[in-house]
Protein backbone atom coordinates (compact mmCIF):
# COMPACT_ATOMS: atom_id res chain seq x y z
CA UNK A 1 0.00 0.00 0.00
CA UNK A 2 2.77 2.36 1.01
CA UNK A 3 4.76 1.62 -2.12
CA UNK A 4 1.67 2.14 -4.21
CA UNK A 5 1.07 5.61 -2.75
CA UNK A 6 4.66 6.58 -3.38
CA UNK A 7 4.43 5.29 -6.94
CA UNK A 8 1.27 7.29 -7.42
CA UNK A 9 2.96 10.42 -6.07
CA UNK A 10 5.92 9.94 -8.40
CA UNK A 11 3.63 9.35 -11.39
CA UNK A 12 1.72 12.49 -10.51
CA UNK A 13 4.84 14.60 -10.34
CA UNK A 14 6.16 13.05 -13.55
CA UNK A 15 2.89 13.89 -15.28
CA UNK A 16 2.99 17.49 -14.11
CA UNK A 17 6.67 18.18 -14.51
CA UNK A 18 7.78 15.99 -17.44
CA UNK A 19 6.90 18.54 -20.16
CA UNK A 20 8.77 21.27 -18.35
CA UNK A 21 11.75 19.05 -17.59
CA UNK A 22 11.91 18.00 -21.26
CA UNK A 23 11.75 21.65 -22.27
CA UNK A 24 14.61 22.56 -19.96
CA UNK A 25 16.76 19.54 -20.92
CA UNK A 26 16.49 20.14 -24.65
CA UNK A 27 17.28 23.81 -24.22
CA UNK A 28 20.83 22.49 -23.69
CA UNK A 29 20.66 20.31 -26.86
CA UNK A 30 23.87 20.36 -28.87
CA UNK A 31 22.14 20.16 -32.23
CA UNK A 32 19.57 21.89 -34.47
CA UNK A 33 16.39 20.19 -33.15
CA UNK A 34 15.03 20.03 -29.56
CA UNK A 35 13.95 16.38 -29.90
CA UNK A 36 15.49 13.11 -28.70
CA UNK A 37 18.08 11.77 -28.83
CA UNK A 38 19.99 14.12 -26.56
CA UNK A 39 23.26 14.82 -28.31
CA UNK A 40 25.17 16.50 -25.48
CA UNK A 41 25.00 19.71 -23.51
CA UNK A 42 25.81 23.21 -24.71
CA UNK A 43 25.01 26.73 -23.55
CA UNK A 44 25.09 28.02 -27.15
CA UNK A 45 21.32 28.51 -27.35
CA UNK A 46 21.29 30.54 -24.16
CA UNK A 47 24.13 32.63 -25.54
CA UNK A 48 22.09 33.10 -28.70
CA UNK A 49 18.91 34.23 -27.03
CA UNK A 50 20.69 36.40 -24.47
CA UNK A 51 22.38 38.29 -27.31
CA UNK A 52 19.13 38.47 -29.31
CA UNK A 53 18.20 42.17 -29.03
CA UNK A 54 14.54 41.72 -29.98
CA UNK A 55 14.05 38.90 -27.51
CA UNK A 56 15.74 40.73 -24.64
CA UNK A 57 13.71 43.83 -25.38
CA UNK A 58 10.51 41.75 -25.31
CA UNK A 59 11.61 40.28 -21.97
CA UNK A 60 12.18 43.77 -20.59
CA UNK A 61 8.79 44.89 -21.94
CA UNK A 62 7.09 41.93 -20.33
CA UNK A 63 8.67 42.69 -16.97
CA UNK A 64 7.64 46.34 -17.11
CA UNK A 65 4.09 45.57 -18.23
CA UNK A 66 3.66 42.84 -15.63
CA UNK A 67 5.08 44.99 -12.84
CA UNK A 68 3.14 48.17 -13.61
CA UNK A 69 -0.16 46.55 -14.58
CA UNK A 70 -0.24 44.36 -11.49
CA UNK A 71 0.64 47.33 -9.26
CA UNK A 72 -2.21 49.36 -10.77
CA UNK A 73 -4.61 46.41 -10.52
CA UNK A 74 -3.52 45.89 -6.91
CA UNK A 75 -4.09 49.51 -5.88
CA UNK A 76 -7.46 49.71 -7.63
CA UNK A 77 -8.53 46.34 -6.26
CA UNK A 78 -7.45 47.31 -2.74
CA UNK A 79 -9.36 50.59 -2.85
CA UNK A 80 -12.47 48.91 -4.24
CA UNK A 81 -12.34 46.09 -1.70
CA UNK A 82 -11.84 48.32 1.32
CA UNK A 83 -14.52 50.70 0.10
CA UNK A 84 -17.11 48.01 -0.46
CA UNK A 85 -16.21 46.28 2.78
CA UNK A 86 -16.69 49.49 4.73
CA UNK A 87 -20.19 50.55 3.79
CA UNK A 88 -23.30 48.62 2.99
CA UNK A 89 -24.91 50.46 0.10
CA UNK A 90 -28.09 49.35 -1.62
CA UNK A 91 -26.08 48.47 -4.72
CA UNK A 92 -23.19 46.70 -3.00
CA UNK A 93 -24.02 43.29 -4.43
CA UNK A 94 -24.40 44.65 -7.95
CA UNK A 95 -21.13 46.60 -7.69
CA UNK A 96 -19.29 43.55 -6.43
CA UNK A 97 -20.71 41.54 -9.30
CA UNK A 98 -19.71 44.14 -11.85
CA UNK A 99 -16.18 44.26 -10.48
CA UNK A 100 -15.74 40.51 -10.69
CA UNK A 101 -17.60 40.09 -14.00
CA UNK A 102 -14.54 40.46 -16.31
CA UNK A 103 -13.16 37.26 -14.77
CA UNK A 104 -15.88 35.27 -16.48
CA UNK A 105 -15.25 36.75 -19.92
CA UNK A 106 -12.64 35.10 -22.17
CA UNK A 107 -9.44 37.06 -22.75
CA UNK A 108 -10.15 37.03 -26.48
CA UNK A 109 -13.45 38.86 -26.03
CA UNK A 110 -11.86 41.36 -23.65
CA UNK A 111 -9.04 41.96 -26.12
CA UNK A 112 -11.48 42.49 -28.99
CA UNK A 113 -13.52 44.92 -26.96
CA UNK A 114 -10.44 46.85 -25.90
CA UNK A 115 -9.11 46.89 -29.46
CA UNK A 116 -12.30 48.46 -30.77
CA UNK A 117 -12.55 50.93 -27.93
CA UNK A 118 -8.89 51.95 -28.17
CA UNK A 119 -9.41 52.51 -31.90
CA UNK A 120 -12.29 54.84 -31.14
CA UNK A 121 -10.42 56.92 -28.56
CA UNK A 122 -7.18 56.88 -30.53
CA UNK A 123 -4.92 54.73 -28.37
CA UNK A 124 -2.56 52.83 -30.67
CA UNK A 125 -1.79 49.15 -30.06
CA UNK A 126 1.17 49.44 -27.72
CA UNK A 127 2.59 48.30 -24.41
CA UNK A 128 0.36 50.87 -22.70
CA UNK A 129 -2.71 49.35 -24.35
CA UNK A 130 -1.55 45.86 -23.29
CA UNK A 131 -0.91 47.08 -19.76
CA UNK A 132 -4.43 48.49 -19.58
CA UNK A 133 -5.73 45.15 -20.87
CA UNK A 134 -3.86 43.35 -18.12
CA UNK A 135 -5.27 45.69 -15.51
CA UNK A 136 -8.73 44.80 -16.83
CA UNK A 137 -8.16 41.08 -16.35
CA UNK A 138 -6.27 41.35 -13.06
CA UNK A 139 -8.38 43.93 -11.24
CA UNK A 140 -11.22 41.43 -10.61
CA UNK A 141 -8.68 38.94 -9.30
CA UNK A 142 -7.06 41.44 -6.93
CA UNK A 143 -10.46 42.69 -5.80
CA UNK A 144 -11.78 39.18 -5.13
CA UNK A 145 -8.69 38.13 -3.15
CA UNK A 146 -8.61 41.29 -1.04
CA UNK A 147 -12.35 41.47 -0.48
CA UNK A 148 -12.27 37.92 0.81
CA UNK A 149 -9.30 38.76 3.04
CA UNK A 150 -11.16 41.57 4.84
CA UNK A 151 -12.91 39.82 7.71
CA UNK A 152 -14.75 41.10 10.76
CA UNK A 153 -11.43 41.35 12.55
CA UNK A 154 -10.09 43.79 9.96
CA UNK A 155 -13.33 45.73 9.81
CA UNK A 156 -13.37 46.40 13.52
CA UNK A 157 -9.70 47.44 13.49
CA UNK A 158 -10.49 49.92 10.71
CA UNK A 159 -13.41 51.21 12.75
CA UNK A 160 -11.12 51.61 15.75
CA UNK A 161 -8.61 53.55 13.64
CA UNK A 162 -11.32 55.97 12.50
CA UNK A 163 -12.53 56.28 16.08
CA UNK A 164 -8.99 57.24 17.14
CA UNK A 165 -8.94 60.09 14.65
CA UNK A 166 -7.38 58.58 11.51
CA UNK A 167 -8.30 60.16 8.19
CA UNK A 168 -9.42 57.79 5.46
CA UNK A 169 -6.01 57.61 3.77
CA UNK A 170 -4.35 57.03 7.15
CA UNK A 171 -6.76 54.19 7.86
CA UNK A 172 -5.81 52.56 4.56
CA UNK A 173 -2.09 53.19 4.86
CA UNK A 174 -1.43 52.53 8.54
CA UNK A 175 -4.00 49.85 9.29
CA UNK A 176 -5.74 48.27 6.29
CA UNK A 177 -2.68 47.71 4.09
CA UNK A 178 -0.39 46.31 6.82
CA UNK A 179 -3.14 44.00 8.09
CA UNK A 180 -3.80 42.75 4.56
CA UNK A 181 -0.14 42.20 3.65
CA UNK A 182 -0.56 38.46 2.94
CA UNK A 183 -3.57 39.12 0.70
CA UNK A 184 -1.83 42.01 -1.02
CA UNK A 185 1.24 39.86 -1.71
CA UNK A 186 -0.86 36.98 -3.03
CA UNK A 187 -2.88 39.26 -5.28
CA UNK A 188 0.21 41.03 -6.58
CA UNK A 189 2.20 37.89 -7.40
CA UNK A 190 -0.75 36.17 -9.03
CA UNK A 191 -1.52 39.25 -11.11
CA UNK A 192 2.16 39.45 -12.01
CA UNK A 193 2.35 35.86 -13.27
CA UNK A 194 -0.92 36.19 -15.19
CA UNK A 195 0.32 39.30 -16.94
CA UNK A 196 3.75 37.71 -17.51
CA UNK A 197 2.23 34.66 -19.24
CA UNK A 198 -0.62 36.40 -21.02
CA UNK A 199 -0.63 36.03 -24.81
CA UNK A 200 -3.96 36.82 -26.49
CA UNK A 201 -4.43 40.37 -25.20
CA UNK A 202 -0.75 41.16 -25.73
CA UNK A 203 -0.90 39.72 -29.23
CA UNK A 204 -3.90 41.82 -30.26
CA UNK A 205 -2.91 45.02 -28.48
CA UNK A 206 0.79 45.35 -29.35
CA UNK A 207 2.43 46.19 -32.63
CA UNK A 208 6.09 47.23 -32.65
CA UNK A 209 7.12 46.77 -29.03
CA UNK A 210 5.90 43.34 -28.01
CA UNK A 211 5.89 41.28 -24.82
CA UNK A 212 7.79 38.02 -24.44
CA UNK A 213 4.94 35.56 -25.19
CA UNK A 214 4.25 37.39 -28.44
CA UNK A 215 7.95 37.31 -29.38
CA UNK A 216 8.14 33.58 -28.58
CA UNK A 217 5.12 33.00 -30.78
CA UNK A 218 6.80 34.71 -33.72
CA UNK A 219 9.94 32.62 -33.07
CA UNK A 220 7.84 29.45 -33.17
CA UNK A 221 6.51 30.36 -36.57
CA UNK A 222 9.97 29.75 -38.04
CA UNK A 223 10.01 26.24 -36.60
CA UNK A 224 11.24 24.44 -33.50
CA UNK A 225 14.70 25.22 -32.22
CA UNK A 226 16.47 24.65 -28.90
CA UNK A 227 16.51 28.46 -28.69
CA UNK A 228 12.74 28.52 -28.07
CA UNK A 229 13.30 25.91 -25.37
CA UNK A 230 15.89 28.18 -23.79
CA UNK A 231 13.47 31.11 -23.80
CA UNK A 232 10.78 28.87 -22.35
CA UNK A 233 13.17 27.83 -19.59
CA UNK A 234 13.88 31.45 -18.76
CA UNK A 235 10.15 32.25 -18.56
CA UNK A 236 9.70 29.23 -16.34
CA UNK A 237 12.56 30.38 -14.14
CA UNK A 238 10.92 33.77 -13.60
CA UNK A 239 7.62 32.09 -12.69
CA UNK A 240 9.43 29.83 -10.23
CA UNK A 241 11.08 32.84 -8.62
CA UNK A 242 7.69 34.53 -8.25
CA UNK A 243 6.14 31.43 -6.71
CA UNK A 244 9.04 31.08 -4.28
CA UNK A 245 8.68 34.75 -3.36
CA UNK A 246 4.99 34.12 -2.77
CA UNK A 247 5.76 31.14 -0.54
CA UNK A 248 8.26 33.11 1.49
CA UNK A 249 6.15 36.22 2.02
CA UNK A 250 2.69 34.75 2.22
CA UNK A 251 2.77 31.24 3.56
CA UNK A 252 5.51 31.76 6.08
CA UNK A 253 3.38 34.52 7.62
CA UNK A 254 0.33 32.32 7.48
CA UNK A 255 1.97 29.49 9.37
CA UNK A 256 2.96 31.71 12.26
Amino acid sequence: MRILSWAYLLALFAFILLPVVTLVIFSFQDGRLPVPPFKGATLDWYREILTDRALMEALGNSLIVALLSSLVALVLGFLAASGLARVLLPGTVVMRGLLIAPMTVSYLIIALGLLQMFNKVGIRPSLLATGIGHVVINLPLCFAILYAAIGEHQKSALKAARDLGAKEWQVLWFVAAPMLTPGLAAAFFLAFTFSWDEFIIAFLLTRFDVTLPVEIWSMLRSGLSPATNAVGSLVFLVSVIVVVALELTLFRKGSK
Binding site: S156, G165, A166
Partner: protein, 341 residues
Protein backbone atom coordinates in the same frame (compact mmCIF):
# COMPACT_ATOMS: atom_id res chain seq x y z
CA UNK B 1 -10.91 65.74 29.56
CA UNK B 2 -14.54 65.25 30.42
CA UNK B 3 -17.84 66.47 29.10
CA UNK B 4 -21.53 65.96 29.55
CA UNK B 5 -23.62 64.18 26.95
CA UNK B 6 -27.12 65.24 26.09
CA UNK B 7 -29.27 62.99 23.97
CA UNK B 8 -32.30 64.84 22.70
CA UNK B 9 -35.28 62.93 21.31
CA UNK B 10 -33.06 60.52 19.40
CA UNK B 11 -34.92 58.12 17.18
CA UNK B 12 -33.24 55.55 14.98
CA UNK B 13 -34.70 53.29 12.33
CA UNK B 14 -33.10 50.46 10.37
CA UNK B 15 -35.31 50.14 7.31
CA UNK B 16 -38.69 49.36 8.87
CA UNK B 17 -37.37 48.40 12.32
CA UNK B 18 -37.28 51.17 14.91
CA UNK B 19 -34.28 50.55 17.15
CA UNK B 20 -34.72 53.65 19.31
CA UNK B 21 -37.95 55.47 20.13
CA UNK B 22 -37.33 59.12 20.97
CA UNK B 23 -34.75 58.54 23.66
CA UNK B 24 -33.89 61.44 25.95
CA UNK B 25 -30.90 61.12 28.24
CA UNK B 26 -28.72 63.52 30.20
CA UNK B 27 -25.30 62.26 31.20
CA UNK B 28 -23.30 64.49 33.53
CA UNK B 29 -19.61 65.14 33.00
CA UNK B 30 -17.46 62.53 34.75
CA UNK B 31 -20.34 60.17 35.32
CA UNK B 32 -20.09 56.38 34.91
CA UNK B 33 -23.26 55.45 33.03
CA UNK B 34 -24.24 51.90 32.18
CA UNK B 35 -26.71 51.19 29.40
CA UNK B 36 -28.31 47.90 30.43
CA UNK B 37 -30.76 45.70 28.62
CA UNK B 38 -31.31 42.44 26.76
CA UNK B 39 -29.89 42.04 23.27
CA UNK B 40 -31.85 44.01 20.72
CA UNK B 41 -32.97 46.65 23.22
CA UNK B 42 -31.13 49.43 21.40
CA UNK B 43 -28.27 49.98 23.85
CA UNK B 44 -25.52 49.33 21.29
CA UNK B 45 -27.35 51.46 18.73
CA UNK B 46 -27.42 54.32 21.23
CA UNK B 47 -23.70 53.87 21.92
CA UNK B 48 -22.93 53.89 18.18
CA UNK B 49 -24.91 57.10 17.84
CA UNK B 50 -22.90 58.76 20.63
CA UNK B 51 -19.67 57.53 19.00
CA UNK B 52 -20.70 58.77 15.56
CA UNK B 53 -20.81 55.37 13.84
CA UNK B 54 -24.51 55.87 13.22
CA UNK B 55 -26.38 59.06 12.45
CA UNK B 56 -29.78 59.04 14.16
CA UNK B 57 -32.86 59.25 11.96
CA UNK B 58 -34.09 62.06 14.19
CA UNK B 59 -32.93 63.97 17.24
CA UNK B 60 -29.65 65.46 18.42
CA UNK B 61 -26.53 64.42 20.27
CA UNK B 62 -24.76 67.14 22.23
CA UNK B 63 -21.36 66.52 23.75
CA UNK B 64 -20.02 69.25 25.98
CA UNK B 65 -22.83 71.46 24.72
CA UNK B 66 -21.79 71.16 21.06
CA UNK B 67 -24.03 69.51 18.48
CA UNK B 68 -22.25 66.35 17.34
CA UNK B 69 -25.13 64.67 15.51
CA UNK B 70 -23.47 64.79 12.11
CA UNK B 71 -19.80 64.81 13.13
CA UNK B 72 -17.65 61.83 12.04
CA UNK B 73 -16.16 59.57 14.74
CA UNK B 74 -12.63 60.83 14.07
CA UNK B 75 -13.65 64.41 14.85
CA UNK B 76 -15.56 63.62 18.04
CA UNK B 77 -14.15 63.94 21.56
CA UNK B 78 -15.13 60.30 22.08
CA UNK B 79 -13.22 57.04 21.80
CA UNK B 80 -14.51 53.51 21.99
CA UNK B 81 -13.34 50.35 23.68
CA UNK B 82 -14.65 47.68 21.35
CA UNK B 83 -16.13 44.33 22.27
CA UNK B 84 -13.48 42.42 20.29
CA UNK B 85 -10.72 44.85 21.43
CA UNK B 86 -9.93 45.72 17.75
CA UNK B 87 -6.22 46.10 18.45
CA UNK B 88 -3.86 46.53 15.51
CA UNK B 89 -2.09 43.15 15.23
CA UNK B 90 0.86 44.49 13.24
CA UNK B 91 1.84 47.08 15.86
CA UNK B 92 3.53 46.81 19.23
CA UNK B 93 1.50 47.72 22.29
CA UNK B 94 3.33 51.05 22.42
CA UNK B 95 2.33 51.85 18.83
CA UNK B 96 -1.21 50.64 19.43
CA UNK B 97 -1.64 52.94 22.41
CA UNK B 98 0.15 55.82 20.65
CA UNK B 99 -1.89 55.48 17.44
CA UNK B 100 -4.48 58.11 18.30
CA UNK B 101 -1.77 60.61 19.23
CA UNK B 102 0.10 59.85 16.00
CA UNK B 103 -3.07 60.63 14.05
CA UNK B 104 -3.22 63.93 15.92
CA UNK B 105 0.29 64.77 14.78
CA UNK B 106 2.06 64.26 18.11
CA UNK B 107 5.79 63.59 17.71
CA UNK B 108 7.30 60.17 18.31
CA UNK B 109 9.02 60.94 21.62
CA UNK B 110 5.96 62.60 23.14
CA UNK B 111 3.55 59.90 22.07
CA UNK B 112 5.82 57.09 23.21
CA UNK B 113 6.07 58.73 26.61
CA UNK B 114 2.29 59.05 26.83
CA UNK B 115 1.81 55.47 25.59
CA UNK B 116 4.16 54.19 28.30
CA UNK B 117 2.32 56.21 30.91
CA UNK B 118 -1.00 54.71 29.81
CA UNK B 119 0.43 51.18 29.72
CA UNK B 120 1.77 51.81 33.20
CA UNK B 121 -1.72 52.72 34.35
CA UNK B 122 -3.09 49.37 33.16
CA UNK B 123 -0.06 47.47 34.46
CA UNK B 124 1.50 46.49 31.13
CA UNK B 125 4.43 48.88 30.88
CA UNK B 126 6.90 45.97 30.78
CA UNK B 127 5.25 44.58 27.65
CA UNK B 128 5.34 47.77 25.57
CA UNK B 129 7.35 46.16 22.76
CA UNK B 130 5.13 43.06 22.52
CA UNK B 131 2.50 42.43 19.89
CA UNK B 132 -1.20 41.95 20.80
CA UNK B 133 -1.20 38.23 19.85
CA UNK B 134 1.30 37.54 22.64
CA UNK B 135 -1.19 38.70 25.28
CA UNK B 136 -4.07 37.06 27.11
CA UNK B 137 -7.64 38.25 26.66
CA UNK B 138 -7.60 40.30 29.85
CA UNK B 139 -4.34 41.97 28.89
CA UNK B 140 -5.65 42.85 25.41
CA UNK B 141 -8.62 44.39 27.15
CA UNK B 142 -6.32 46.63 29.15
CA UNK B 143 -4.42 47.66 26.03
CA UNK B 144 -7.70 48.59 24.36
CA UNK B 145 -8.55 50.70 27.40
CA UNK B 146 -5.13 52.37 27.41
CA UNK B 147 -5.38 53.07 23.69
CA UNK B 148 -8.83 54.62 24.01
CA UNK B 149 -7.78 56.79 26.96
CA UNK B 150 -4.40 57.88 25.52
CA UNK B 151 -5.99 60.62 23.43
CA UNK B 152 -7.70 61.95 26.56
CA UNK B 153 -11.26 61.79 25.24
CA UNK B 154 -14.08 63.67 26.90
CA UNK B 155 -16.26 60.59 26.73
CA UNK B 156 -15.19 56.94 26.67
CA UNK B 157 -17.65 54.48 25.15
CA UNK B 158 -17.37 50.85 26.23
CA UNK B 159 -19.17 48.31 24.08
CA UNK B 160 -19.64 45.18 26.23
CA UNK B 161 -15.88 45.13 26.81
CA UNK B 162 -15.93 42.45 29.51
CA UNK B 163 -18.21 40.02 27.73
CA UNK B 164 -15.43 37.70 26.58
CA UNK B 165 -13.69 37.42 29.96
CA UNK B 166 -14.26 34.71 32.54
CA UNK B 167 -16.10 35.57 35.73
CA UNK B 168 -13.09 36.13 37.99
CA UNK B 169 -11.28 38.30 35.47
CA UNK B 170 -14.49 40.20 34.77
CA UNK B 171 -14.91 41.07 38.46
CA UNK B 172 -11.32 42.24 38.62
CA UNK B 173 -11.66 44.35 35.45
CA UNK B 174 -14.89 45.89 36.76
CA UNK B 175 -13.05 47.11 39.83
CA UNK B 176 -10.17 48.38 37.73
CA UNK B 177 -12.45 50.18 35.28
CA UNK B 178 -14.17 51.89 38.16
CA UNK B 179 -10.86 52.91 39.77
CA UNK B 180 -9.45 54.20 36.48
CA UNK B 181 -12.62 56.12 35.73
CA UNK B 182 -12.39 57.83 39.11
CA UNK B 183 -8.78 58.69 38.43
CA UNK B 184 -9.13 60.14 34.93
CA UNK B 185 -12.55 61.70 35.51
CA UNK B 186 -13.66 60.99 31.94
CA UNK B 187 -17.35 60.35 31.30
CA UNK B 188 -17.78 56.59 30.78
CA UNK B 189 -20.73 55.16 28.87
CA UNK B 190 -20.69 51.40 29.24
CA UNK B 191 -22.97 48.91 27.51
CA UNK B 192 -23.74 45.52 29.03
CA UNK B 193 -26.51 42.96 29.36
CA UNK B 194 -25.19 41.76 32.73
CA UNK B 195 -27.14 43.43 35.52
CA UNK B 196 -24.60 42.47 38.19
CA UNK B 197 -21.84 44.13 36.21
CA UNK B 198 -24.03 47.19 35.77
CA UNK B 199 -24.67 47.48 39.50
CA UNK B 200 -21.03 46.91 40.35
CA UNK B 201 -19.66 49.76 38.27
CA UNK B 202 -22.36 52.29 37.48
CA UNK B 203 -23.04 55.66 39.02
CA UNK B 204 -26.32 55.47 37.18
CA UNK B 205 -27.95 52.64 35.27
CA UNK B 206 -30.12 53.21 32.22
CA UNK B 207 -32.36 50.17 31.80
CA UNK B 208 -33.48 49.84 28.20
CA UNK B 209 -36.02 47.64 26.47
CA UNK B 210 -37.50 47.69 22.96
CA UNK B 211 -35.70 50.91 22.09
CA UNK B 212 -36.99 52.82 25.12
CA UNK B 213 -35.54 53.86 28.45
CA UNK B 214 -37.40 51.89 31.11
CA UNK B 215 -35.69 53.30 34.16
CA UNK B 216 -32.74 55.54 34.81
CA UNK B 217 -31.28 55.78 38.28
CA UNK B 218 -28.60 54.71 40.74
CA UNK B 219 -28.06 50.96 41.13
CA UNK B 220 -29.92 51.06 44.46
CA UNK B 221 -32.89 52.84 42.94
CA UNK B 222 -33.08 50.58 39.95
CA UNK B 223 -32.76 47.42 42.00
CA UNK B 224 -34.79 48.28 45.10
CA UNK B 225 -37.34 50.66 43.64
CA UNK B 226 -37.84 49.60 40.03
CA UNK B 227 -40.21 51.77 38.08
CA UNK B 228 -41.48 49.17 35.65
CA UNK B 229 -42.19 45.46 35.68
CA UNK B 230 -39.49 44.99 33.05
CA UNK B 231 -36.72 46.63 35.03
CA UNK B 232 -37.88 44.83 38.20
CA UNK B 233 -37.52 41.50 36.39
CA UNK B 234 -34.37 42.35 34.50
CA UNK B 235 -32.46 43.52 37.56
CA UNK B 236 -33.08 40.28 39.42
CA UNK B 237 -35.61 37.74 40.59
CA UNK B 238 -38.88 38.97 42.09
CA UNK B 239 -41.89 37.44 43.79
CA UNK B 240 -45.07 38.92 42.44
CA UNK B 241 -48.30 39.24 44.41
CA UNK B 242 -51.30 41.10 42.95
CA UNK B 243 -52.73 43.59 45.47
CA UNK B 244 -55.76 45.87 45.76
CA UNK B 245 -56.21 48.71 48.31
CA UNK B 246 -58.26 47.90 51.35
CA UNK B 247 -58.58 50.33 54.23
CA UNK B 248 -55.14 51.34 55.47
CA UNK B 249 -53.47 48.32 53.82
CA UNK B 250 -53.94 46.08 50.82
CA UNK B 251 -55.74 42.89 50.06
CA UNK B 252 -53.97 40.02 48.34
CA UNK B 253 -54.29 36.27 47.73
CA UNK B 254 -52.11 35.92 50.83
CA UNK B 255 -54.65 37.83 52.88
CA UNK B 256 -54.51 41.46 54.04
CA UNK B 257 -51.01 42.96 54.05
CA UNK B 258 -49.82 45.91 56.10
CA UNK B 259 -48.35 48.11 53.35
CA UNK B 260 -49.41 51.47 51.96
CA UNK B 261 -52.65 51.13 49.98
CA UNK B 262 -52.06 50.70 46.24
CA UNK B 263 -53.40 48.77 43.32
CA UNK B 264 -51.07 46.70 41.18
CA UNK B 265 -48.38 44.09 41.51
CA UNK B 266 -46.41 43.79 44.73
CA UNK B 267 -42.78 42.93 43.91
CA UNK B 268 -40.51 41.44 46.55
CA UNK B 269 -36.87 40.42 45.99
CA UNK B 270 -36.05 36.94 47.38
CA UNK B 271 -33.66 38.47 49.92
CA UNK B 272 -36.46 40.77 51.14
CA UNK B 273 -38.33 37.74 52.40
CA UNK B 274 -37.46 36.48 55.86
CA UNK B 275 -38.66 34.76 59.01
CA UNK B 276 -38.74 37.98 61.02
CA UNK B 277 -38.76 41.76 60.50
CA UNK B 278 -41.08 43.72 58.23
CA UNK B 279 -44.72 43.07 57.42
CA UNK B 280 -46.29 39.65 57.71
CA UNK B 281 -47.01 37.63 54.59
CA UNK B 282 -48.92 35.00 56.49
CA UNK B 283 -47.95 31.42 57.16
CA UNK B 284 -46.36 29.15 54.58
CA UNK B 285 -44.73 25.72 54.35
CA UNK B 286 -41.24 25.06 53.05
CA UNK B 287 -41.39 22.83 49.99
CA UNK B 288 -37.86 23.04 48.67
CA UNK B 289 -34.47 24.39 49.69
CA UNK B 290 -30.99 24.50 48.19
CA UNK B 291 -27.72 25.76 49.62
CA UNK B 292 -26.00 28.39 47.42
CA UNK B 293 -23.00 29.16 49.61
CA UNK B 294 -23.84 32.60 50.87
CA UNK B 295 -27.58 31.86 51.27
CA UNK B 296 -30.27 29.18 51.21
CA UNK B 297 -32.67 29.43 48.32
CA UNK B 298 -36.06 28.33 49.67
CA UNK B 299 -39.47 27.90 48.06
CA UNK B 300 -42.50 28.41 50.28
CA UNK B 301 -46.11 27.53 49.61
CA UNK B 302 -48.42 30.05 51.34
CA UNK B 303 -51.30 28.44 53.24
CA UNK B 304 -53.70 31.10 51.99
CA UNK B 305 -52.73 30.58 48.32
CA UNK B 306 -51.49 27.01 47.78
CA UNK B 307 -51.07 27.51 44.02
CA UNK B 308 -48.47 30.23 44.61
CA UNK B 309 -44.77 29.75 45.27
CA UNK B 310 -42.64 32.36 47.05
CA UNK B 311 -38.88 32.32 46.71
CA UNK B 312 -36.80 33.50 49.64
CA UNK B 313 -33.06 33.74 50.16
CA UNK B 314 -32.45 32.96 53.83
CA UNK B 315 -29.19 33.42 55.73
CA UNK B 316 -26.85 30.44 56.14
CA UNK B 317 -28.10 27.78 58.51
CA UNK B 318 -31.42 29.54 59.06
CA UNK B 319 -33.87 27.56 57.00
CA UNK B 320 -36.68 25.51 58.59
CA UNK B 321 -37.19 21.79 57.93
CA UNK B 322 -39.08 20.55 54.90
CA UNK B 323 -42.85 20.73 55.31
CA UNK B 324 -42.46 22.93 58.37
CA UNK B 325 -44.91 25.76 58.73
CA UNK B 326 -43.49 29.26 59.45
CA UNK B 327 -44.62 32.86 59.27
CA UNK B 328 -43.01 34.82 56.40
CA UNK B 329 -42.17 38.50 56.53
CA UNK B 330 -41.41 40.95 53.74
CA UNK B 331 -39.32 44.10 53.47
CA UNK B 332 -38.78 46.78 50.80
CA UNK B 333 -42.18 46.38 49.16
CA UNK B 334 -42.61 47.87 45.70
CA UNK B 335 -46.05 48.05 44.15
CA UNK B 336 -46.06 48.64 40.41
CA UNK B 337 -49.21 50.02 38.85
CA UNK B 338 -50.85 47.61 36.40
CA UNK B 339 -50.20 49.89 33.41
CA UNK B 340 -46.46 49.76 34.15
CA UNK B 341 -46.50 46.04 33.40
Amino acid sequence: MTADVHIKAVEHRFNSFTALHRVDLQIAAGEFIVLLGPSGCGKTTLLSIIGGFLTPSEGQVLIGGRDMTHVAPKDRPTTTMFQDYALFPHMSLRDNVGFGLRMRGVGRAARNAKALEMLEMVGLADKAARRPHELSGGQRQRVALARALAVEPDVLLLDEPLGALDLKLRRQMQEELKAIQRRVGTTFVHVTHDQEEAMAIADRIVVMNHGKVEHCGTPEEVYLRPRTMFSADFMGETNRVPVTPSGSGVNSPLGPLAIAPAKGMLCLRPESLGLAEGFSLGRATLVEAAFYGSYHRCHFRPLAAPDMLLTAHLPQGAHPGFGEEVELFGRNPVVLAPEAA
